[in-house]
């Protein structure tokens, strides 16, 4: 128990130290007026603002977190399912996959009218935006993972004529896991930005906060929003890490024999 705690600290300590260093340099840069405070507020000012407007900021963060949860959750579900479909039926992959990249390249703001009309103003559009932006990485990575499964193991499993479902659950997904988890990590960050951009359009959450602050000369508040979005992303990545450790507990995944 104590050992686990010590390990955990040893693992996370460098990040905290780096963070400390980063903030100090940042503070210095602003204090020395190398960069004007109206462009880049100092960390202390950002924290002060965050503290001062905490109820609003916290409410906004919760609302954004909620949208991210649904958007990312749905893109994981869809991404993995599509990857499986594409893997199972190469014809579908060859037909549809090129167009999936569309999801990544279309500026949300350009299709805002469509989004708002289809999903309604407010949270649904925000979720849809988070979903659209975060779909491709999880899809592409899972698909690559499925395709990179050791063909020798595939041959072994096929000896026993497994159902497609068994093949997926007992071979393909476990062996695609490192790919999937990396895809999810990438998608998590994108879901955050997707939600915020969605909120530029459909209101609510951190996005709305940043949007209002940025036109009001409240750079400190803008950076409060950016801070909270980063915190959201880091929490997500942390949650994914914990989850994947639980999943992989004691399992030498992909450690070759």
């Amino acid at each position: 128990m104590l050992g686990a705690l010590r390990d955990w600290i040893a693992e996370k300590l460098p990040a905290w130290i780096f963070l400390g260093g980063l903030l100090s340099v940042w503070q210095l840069v602003v204090a020395q007026e190398w960069v004007a405070a109206y462009l880049l507020p100092s960390p202390t000012q950002i924290f002060a603002t965050t503290w001062q407007l905490w109820p609003e900021i916290w409410a906004a963060t919760l609302s954004t977190a909620h949208s991210i949860f649904w958007g990312l959750g749905f893109s994981i579900l869809t991404g993995v399912s599509l990857a499986l479909l594409f893997f199972a039926i190469p014809l579908v992959r060859r037909a549809v996959l090129p167009f999936c990249i569309f999801f990544q390249t279309v500026p949300i703001i350009a299709i805002a009218p469509l989004l708002v009309i289809w999903f309604g103003f407010g949270d649904p559009t925000v979720r849809a935006s988070a979903f659209i932006v975060s779909l491709f990485p999880i899809l592409a990575n899972t698909l690559t993972g499925l395709q990179e499964t050791d063909p020798q193991l595939r041959e072994l499993y096929r000896l026993y004529r497994p159902s497609p479902w068994q093949l997926i659950v007992k071979l393909q997904l476990p062996s695609a896991l490192p790919y999937m988890l990396t895809g999810i990590r990438i998608s998590a960050g994108l879901a955050v930005i997707g939600a915020i951009v969605g909120e530029f359009i459909a209101g609510g959450g951190i996005g709305s906060l940043i949007d209002a602050a940025r036109t009001q000369q409240r750079v400190d508040l803008v950076f409060s929003g950016v801070l909270m979005s980063s915190v959201l992303a880091l929490s997500l990545v942390f949650a994914i890490e914990v989850l994947s450790r639980l999943l992989l507990r004691g399992r030498p995944y992909l450690r070759k024999v």
């Binding site: 020798q152 072994l156 026993y160 071979l171 399992r251 030498p252 450690r255 024999v257």
Partner: protein, 254 residues
């Protein structure tokens, strides 16, 4: 009735290369056990894979007796264990995949591993096992489904003599008690003579050279001390050497 009928079977991996298996014809009767001998690279593994349906036939035919395909099992030349499954979980894999994971069968898996000297390794992962242990796990995995016929690709090559003898006798006991049939690839002529009702020798040109039925009244390790046994081994050895010499002279791979 014949279990496996192979007619004019050929396999080539590319149009440019010579065929690996060339115009092979033989019939394996019900319950008859076959040993495959031949120099490295002559196509033993390829033949086994063809029988199992893991490779596509280039020419000719393989006919299996009806229903046999469902009761076939295979041991690869390398252990091919699933790295994220423990020893026992690896053995249980076929049961899980064939929806037949009854308690009795789980017990059978544990019993098999015990018979193979791995009773204390059930929870180990493949990367924590020695080479010979891994191969034994693979063997247990192939036996756990109670197959009617099992194709084995040098399963005992990584074992010491003593373990090898025990495994041989285990295989023979399955043959006697459960009517298990096998096709067994080996490099040891003595092992082939000991385990095979018939022996198929292949040469590196991709054809068979000889093909005989061996009938011993009983098989146990004591048999290996008998003159008859040693005579047969001796005669096969000579045959093998002749083939090999011909080969070396013709400059082929050996």
């Amino acid at each position: 009735m014949s279990a496996i009928k192979v007619t004019a079977l050929s396999k080539r991996f590319s149009a440019a290369d010579a065929p690996v298996v060339h115009n092979l014809t033989f019939t394996l009767e019900e319950r008859q056990c076959l040993c495959l001998l031949g120099p490295s690279g002559c196509g033993k593994t390829t033949l086994l894979r063809l029988l199992m349906g893991l490779e596509k036939v280039s020419d000719g035919d393989i006919t299996l007796s009806s229903g046999l395909i469902e009761h076939m099992s295979y041991v690869f030349q390398e252990p091919r264990l699933v790295p994220w499954r423990s020893c026992l979980e690896n053995v249980l894999l076929p049961l899980e995949l064939t929806h037949s994971s009854s308690a009795a069968q789980r017990d059978r898996a544990v019993a098999l591993l015990q018979q193979l000297g791995l009773g204390e390794r059930l929870a180990h992962f493949p990367s924590e096992l020695s080479g010979g242990m891994q191969m034994r796990v693979a063997l247990a995995r192939a036996l756990v489904t109670e197959p009617r016929i099992i194709l084995l690709d040098e399963p005992f090559a990584a074992l010491d003599e003593r373990s090898r003898f025990r495994m041989q006798d285990l295989l023979l006991s399955f043959k006697a008690e459960l009517g298990l049939q096998y096709v067994f690839v080996t490099h040891s002529i003595a092992e082939a003579v000991y385990l095979g009702d018939r022996i198929l020798m292949m040469d590196a040109q991709g054809g068979q050279r000889d093909w005989r039925a061996i009938d011993f009244p009983a098989r146990d390790q004591a048999l290996k001390m008998t003159a008859e046994f040693n005579g047969i081994v001796e005669s096969y050895s000579r045959l093998f050497t002749d083939m090999e010499t011909a080969l070396v002279e013709s400059g082929g791979s050996g």
